[in-house]
Structures are given as C-alpha cells and as structure tokens.
C-alpha cells in the first residue's frame, strides 16, 4: 500500500537518507539542465547570438546613461567643495575685531572651516588676479573691506541659505554672498537625469523580458510533445521549467557580456574627442568605465532578467499545456 501513497510513513533514518539523495538528484538535474540548455543554445549559434544582441542593445542605453550620471555625481561632489559663502565685514571693522568675528564663525556648528582675508590681503589678491597694479596703487585708501570665506559643513542649498542668514546677523558683518542658483540648476539636472535613467532602465528591462520571453515561448512550443510526455510520467512543473530557466539565464548572461563589450567599445570610440574637448577647457576629464563592480552588477541584472523572462513565459505556457 505504501507505494501508492504520496506521503507514506517511514522511519526517520530512511527519511533522512532519502531526502539527501533526493537533494543530490535535484543538484544533478540542475547541472544537467544548465549544460543541456547551453548546448541547445550553441546548436543554433546565429539565432542565439541575435537574441543576445537584442538584449545587449536594450541594456547598453540605460547602462551608458547611468555611467554618465555617475561621472556627473563625481563632478557634483567636487562642486560641493566650492559651495562657499563670503561674508564681507563692515568697513570700520579693525583687524582685531575681524579676527574675533572669524573665530566666532569658525565656532559656528554649520561651518566646516573659515578663512579671514584682511583688507590688505584682499587687495593683494585683487591686484594679482586683475594685473591692475598701477591703477590700484594710485588709490590712497584701500577700498576693499575685510572678508571671511566660509565653507559650510552641509552643502545642501537650504542649509547654506540658513547659515547665510545666521552669519548675516553677527555684528560687524555687512553682507553675506552666496551663489546657489547654478548649483541648484545642476542638481535639478542631475535629478532629472537619474529619473530618466531609471525610467529607461525599467522600460528596457521590460524589453529584455519580452525578448527572452518570446524566445523561450518558441522553445517551449517546439518541445511541447516532450513536455506533455514528461508531465504524463510524473514530472513536476519545476522539473519542466528548469531547462527553460537556464536557457533564459544564458541568454541574459550572453546579452550582458555583449553589453559590457559594447560599452567598452563606446568608451574607446569617444575617449579621444572627449579628452580633447576637456583639454580645450584646461581640464582633464576621462570617460567613466564600468569597472569590475559595475560589470558584475550589469551581468547579474541581465542574467536575472533573462531568468525572469523565461519564468514568466514558461509559467504562462505550462498552464495551457495539459497532457492528452
């Protein structure tokens, strides 16, 4: 009787050896299906390559945008450094008092560091920057006030604006200047860019799902008879699904590898004009590369997408296929 029962009572010992051998059988089937699905892909190399290329193209665009944003973020971090405030002191403030105001500002919790520029130092910088030695020497008095350059500890625009107000209130401070408008614009642009990248990534991710799903759907259709037979003799859905999931994962992995290659090629292609452009601004800028971590992320994502696409396609079909 126990042969016919789905869950016959058994001793604990035999249960354990049974489940461990079942686990080994499961692993063996995984390994077999991984290799079998790879062999099936290799059996028709052109078709497989075309599918992978379609996946790669769908992945390249969001990945490239993401890379561009990443380099923009690096640029942004540098700009944060330059988000400084300048507090101009009132003309009558002497050097001693200026020193005290500087100390007071340095002690403020919102200030990372401050630097006092005395009227004389300011004049010297001014002369150096403009090369107007003669004209300025003719002035009898130094018309420049002392100033204090403040680097805020929090570069967020709202925090900087609040800090400016507080510094303005200190006695002896004439005016606090900050120029945040362009910084904010840049931030908005970066935000726009990252949202765009996310939307594109979602859209093209769906594209990958569709490409893999369609390919797997055809594969399921061509192996319909086989699926019906194995279901007749007791294959579980998981067993039937397995080879197709591996096919999907292989397609995804192949597509991911091609996408990494395409990104590398694009990098090579653009490096010369970009560095020439940067050099003309007196800057040095190198195009961002995917790097090891980025490549690994891309490959992981593409493989998972392939697997998921296959899962959806097979599951939809298994519901339709019933053994005759």
């Amino acid at each position: 009787m126990s042969r016919q029962s789905p869950a016959p009572p058994r001793g604990a010992r035999s249960q354990r050896t049974r489940s461990s051998s079942r686990f080994r059988g499961w692993l063996r089937h995984h390994r077999a299906m991984m290799l079998d699905s790879a062999r099936r892909l290799l059996r028709r190399p052109i078709g497989s390559l075309l599918t992978m290329l379609a996946i790669a193209i769908a992945l390249v665009l969001p990945a490239a945008l993401w890379l561009a944003l990443d380099s923009a973020r690096l640029l942004d971090a540098e700009l944060d450094e330059s988000a400084t405030l300048t507090a101009y002191l009132e003309p009558h403030v002497g050097e001693a008092q200026a020193g005290r105001i500087d100390e007071a500002m340095a002690a403020h919790e919102g200030v990372m560091r401050s630097r006092l520029i005395t009227a004389a130092e300011g004049m010297a910088e001014f002369q150096q920057a403009l090369g107007l030695d003669d004209a300025l020497e003719r002035l009898e008095d130094n018309p420049l006030p002392a100033s204090i350059v403040v680097v805020p500890s929090d570069p967020a625009p709202e925090a900087v604006r609040q800090l400016a107000g507080e510094l303005q209130a200190l006695s002896g401070v004439d005016e606090v200047r900050l120029d945040l408008a362009w910084l904010e614009r840049l931030r908005h642009l970066a935000e726009l860019g990252s949202r765009l990248a996310l939307a594109l990534a979602v859209l093209f991710g769906l594209g990958v799902l569709l490409v893999v799903g369609n390919t797997i759907r055809l594969a399921v259709e061509s192996r319909r008879q086989e699926i019906e037979v194995v279901m007749l003799i007791g294959a579980t859905h998981a067993f039937v699904r397995r080879p197709f999931l591996y096919s999907g994962a292989w397609y995804g992995l192949g597509g991911g590898l091609l996408a990494c290659g395409l990104l590398g090629l694009g990098n090579q292609w653009l490096t010369v004009p970009v560095s020439a452009l940067a050099a003309s601004y007196g800057a040095s800028f190198t195009l961002p590369r995917l790097g090891l971590e980025g490549s690994a992320t891309l490959l992981l994502c593409s493989t998972l997408l392939g697997w998921l696409g296959a899962w959806i396609a097979v599951s939809r079909h298994l519901a339709e296929i019933r053994p005759r």
Partner: protein
C-alpha cells in the same frame, strides 16, 4: 487496488462519457477493459491517471481518494503508475536508453542505478541491444516495447495500457500481451484497454465491458 464508486464523467455539461461506473480491481489482478471506440475506455483510464477528474463519485487507488490530491501532489502520484500509450509517446530526439531512463531522471535516481534499471527493463522487453538507437530506427512493435520498458522501469505496482496493440499484427500483439502477463505474474496490477476481442478471449483474464459510458459486463477470469 482500484475502486470506482458510482463514477460519472461529463464533458461540457452535456456529453456523458461515463455514467455510474462501479467496480473494484484487486491487487495483483490483470483486467481487460473493452468496448467500441467511444465507449469510455480512455476516459476511464484518464480518470485513474488523474488527467481528468470525475464529475460524480470517487476513484480510489490503493485506498486513497485520488480526487482529494492537491495538484502539486499529482506528479508524485503519477510516478507510482506505469502507463503504456497506444502511440507510445516516445521522445524522438533521444535514444532508446534515454527514453526509458526518463521516469528515473524525473525522480532524481543516481546515474549508476539508472543504468542498472534501464538495462534490466530493456533486457526484459528484449531490446537491450538497441539501447543506442533512436525511436525512428525501430519497428512499431519494438517502439511499443520501449514504451513498456519505460512504464515498468520504475517498478510500479499498477500498470495501465491504452490500446497497446492498436497498430500491431496478431503475432506482435500476442508478444506484447505476454509481456504484460509476465509483469502481472510478479505481482503488478495490470489494466489494459483494448478492443481486440479475439486476443482478449484467448487470454482468459477478467474483462470489464463498457458500452456508451456504462459498465455492461464484468466477466471474472475463466
């Protein structure tokens, strides 16, 4: 082993494929199921294989009401039944060996054990020397014997066959039936749907006769 309790099966609400079927098959019995095509033989077998569920009554196999099995348990239930199909349902792109190994691979049996049992099953049906051949390289009778090897490789306690001799000449049909008798002799319960009345009459086993979905005759073994 098998018990049908007032089983009815309707398709699409109108067509009544089976009506009030009531019988028992004991463990170790060999039973023929006969009747004209359309009499309900295949429907009855499909109920036992859980390819269909009855619209009325209960089907019990080995004492279990199989109508109460959860869909996720159905594959495990099917693994305990060997089935031989009229069109043998072999996978054409795999060798004979791999076709027979399929039920064992589904169960995750060790490769060495698979090899041992596949060869034993092929030996039993007399096709050990063809294990590397593809199904298309075999004759109809040989293909059917591969189908039988695949059905018994799991050593099921219940063996079902739907018109296993449908396309074969009388001599081959007799050979196939002799194989089923061999398995029955070692304790396997065997149920064979067939309309080959002459052959059935010669074999002297219990016969269940269906007509228009009703069990009209139950002749005990002579």
């Amino acid at each position: 082993m098998i018990a049908f309790e007032h089983v009815g099966k309707r398709y699409g609400g109108r067509f009544e494929a089976l009506a009030n079927i009531d019988f028992r098959v004991r463990r170790g019995e060999m039973v023929f199921l006969t009747g004209h095509s359309g009499a309900g033989k295949s429907s009855l077998l499909r109920l036992i294989m859980l390819l269909e569920r009855p619209t009325r009554g209960r089907v019990l196999v080995a004492g279990h009401d199989i109508g109460r099995l959860h869909p996720s348990q159905v594959p495990f239930y099917r693994r305990q039944i060997g089935v031989v199909f009229q069109d043998h349902q072999l996978l054409l792109d795999r060798s004979i060996y791999h076709n027979v190994a399929l039920p064992l691979e589904i169960r995750g049996v060790e490769p060495r054990e698979v090899a041992r049992r596949v060869r034993a099953a092929l030996d039993k049906v007399g096709l050990l020397h063809r294990e590397k051949a593809l199904p298309v390289e075999l004759s109809g009778g040989e293909q059917q014997r591969v189908g039988i090897a695949r059905a018994v490789v799991n050593k099921p306690s219940l063996l079902l066959a739907d018109e296993p001799t449908g396309n074969l000449d009388p001599q081959l049909s007799a050979d196939i039936m002799a194989l089923f008798e061999d398995f029955n002799r070692i304790g396997t319960t065997v149920m064979i749907a067939s309309h080959d009345l002459a052959l059935i009459a010669r074999l002297r086993h219990r016969v269940l006769r269906l007509r228009e979905g009703r069990l009209v005759d139950d002749e005990e073994a002579a």
